[in-house]
């Protein structure tokens, strides 16, 4: 392959024009998930983030040995600052979900999210990291050109926001999703329990993580082995094979079923829901635009009938 060809492929992949609908759909659901997660955490806000909580600020700051921007360190160390930051975060998450003043909202939201995450890093899990990464990508994405207050106000002023945009932020999101699966597949394929077929047994016997009962399937050697090995197969497919056009849709369906299965049996909030919403982003942007249009039409029809 010649350099010119490589450049052409790179440009086609990252910079071809795609409908903006997918990014706007993603912004809305990402916002809802972030808002729901934050509301859950707010119940124990003082405990996790307050100076009279489990980890006073000086302990948290001692961990941040690198250059960082944490508003808890800038504001006075008091319950009032925590309350202000909590209110600010909720307002920003609502603005983000509704697509209001999106660029500035995204930037401030990234700072406040980082502030909360770095205030107590021990409580974070993969979902928090993925949310933070996606939020960063959204800073650069025209994710409020549709289905947003920004587009509504622009329309009122007689302006039309772009409906087709350069694909690079969408591609970065897709690469990120794909990489999560590739990475976890590589890590698991080094584990003896994944190879001998027993990993799902041990994962589902972690008492703190169990949720609803699933008849038979998690109680026989045969089905557990099938589940363990199909987890590896599904994660490999979601990471690699999903890029092959003919396989994309069936793999997304398997991926969604896979995450719904985990959501049912295991008590891991946010992550499964986030992956289900993210997997939809792996669809061809034009297909996704059509699906969103069909879904919106159905919702409107139901409203009219209602």
């Amino acid at each position: 392959m010649k350099l010119a060809q490589l450049k052409k492929l790179w440009n086609e992949f990252f910079y071809s024009e795609v409908p903006v609908d997918g990014l706007c759909y993603f912004r809305f659901f990402l916002g809802l998930i972030m808002l729901a997660t934050f509301m859950q955490d707010m119940v124990f806000a003082e405990f996790w983030w307050g100076d009279s909580g489990i980890q006073p600020l000086n302990y948290a700051s001692a961990q941040l040995t690198f250059f960082h921007l944490n508003l808890f360190e800038i504001l006075p160390n008091s319950p009032t600052s925590l309350t202000i930051l909590l209110i600010l975060q909720v307002i920003l998450l609502i603005f983000f979900t509704l697509g209001f003043k999106i660029k500035i909202t995204c930037i401030i939201l990234l700072v406040t999210t980082l502030t909360f995450h770095q205030r107590n890093m021990l409580i974070l899990n993969s979902a928090d990291l993925l949310l933070r990464l996606f939020l960063f990508y959204m800073v650069f994405a025209p994710c409020a050109n549709k289905f947003s207050l920004d587009s509504y106000f622009a329309k009122k002023k007689g302006l039309r926001l772009k409906e087709n945009v350069s694909a690079w932020t969408l591609r970065l999101i897709q690469l990120q999703i794909s990489f999560v699966y590739i990475s976890t597949f590589i890590a698991k394929s080094k584990g003896a329990l994944w190879l001998d077929g027993s990993a799902v047994y041990y994962a589902t016997r972690l008492e703190d993580l169990t949720r609803f009962y699933f008849p038979i399937i998690l109680d026989t050697y045969f089905t557990i082995k099938v589940l363990t090995w199909s987890t590896l197969l599904i994660e490999f497919s979601l990471g690699i094979l999903i890029w092959i056009k003919e396989f994309t849709k069936p793999i997304i369906i398997f991926g969604i079923l896979f995450h719904l299965g985990i959501e049912w049996t295991m008590s891991i909030p946010t992550f499964e829901l986030l992956m289900i919403v993210s997997l939809v982003m792996m669809l061809n942007p034009n297909d996704l635009k059509n699906y969103i249009a069909i879904a919106l039409k159905k919702i409107r029809n139901e409203k009219t009938l209602g």
């Binding site: 990252f14 910079y15 859950q40 955490d41 119940v43 124990f44 489990i54 980890q55 006073p56 302990y59 690198f66 960082h68 921007l69 980082l114 890093m121 021990l122 409580i123 899990n125 993969s126 990291l129 933070r132 990464l133 960063f136 650069f140 350069s166 690079w168 591609r171 970065l172 690469l175 990120q176 990489f179 990475s183 976890t184 590589i186 890590a187 698991k188 584990g191 003896a192 329990l193 994944w194 027993s198 990993a199 041990y202 994962a203 589902t204 016997r205 972690l206 008492e207 703190d208 993580l209 169990t210 949720r211 009962y213 699933f214 998690l218 109680d219 050697y221 557990i224 008590s267 909030p269």
Partner: protein, 182 residues
Amino acid sequence: MANLKLIKRIGANLLIFIFLMIMIRTHLDRSSPLVYNIYKPITPIQNFFSFYQNWSMFSPNPSRVNAYVDAEIFFKSGKKITYSFLRPSRDELIRRYLFGERFRKYLAEGIRLDGHSRLWPATAEYIARDIKDEHPNEVIDRINLQRHWYNIPDWKENFIPFTKEANVPFQHFIFYTWEPKK
């Protein structure tokens, strides 16, 4: 206009390149000086945003330890009480789902381990503050932070049915003792 477009394209390419580098970093040899030097310019950005792409839940193997942390509080009066945090496996389903994971991460995967010993005094001090209202007339003598755990037995030897309690006793170990400053 053309210049602005070019600058934007260069910026986007740079960002894509940095993020591809960050993505693959977890799978490279961390001890290699070559890797360290290549990543030197990117590390501050990665640290700033805490973008550590480590997607390792249940890998390379799922944990085989069921564990929790609680505390024994001894008062000067000779009275002793046990302090419990929210424990997902013993809490009701909705609380477990909504709040349990944070507590599991902080206590069972965090505080329990020696690697987080710098947080043990803060944990004990929090407990001391938290029980003050419930026991206003008591003076704390000491607080023992205690870990409880059992290893999930080999499935071929002792198969535990899903969602049923394992018939395996917990082991206990006091990993930190805190005494109020005199």
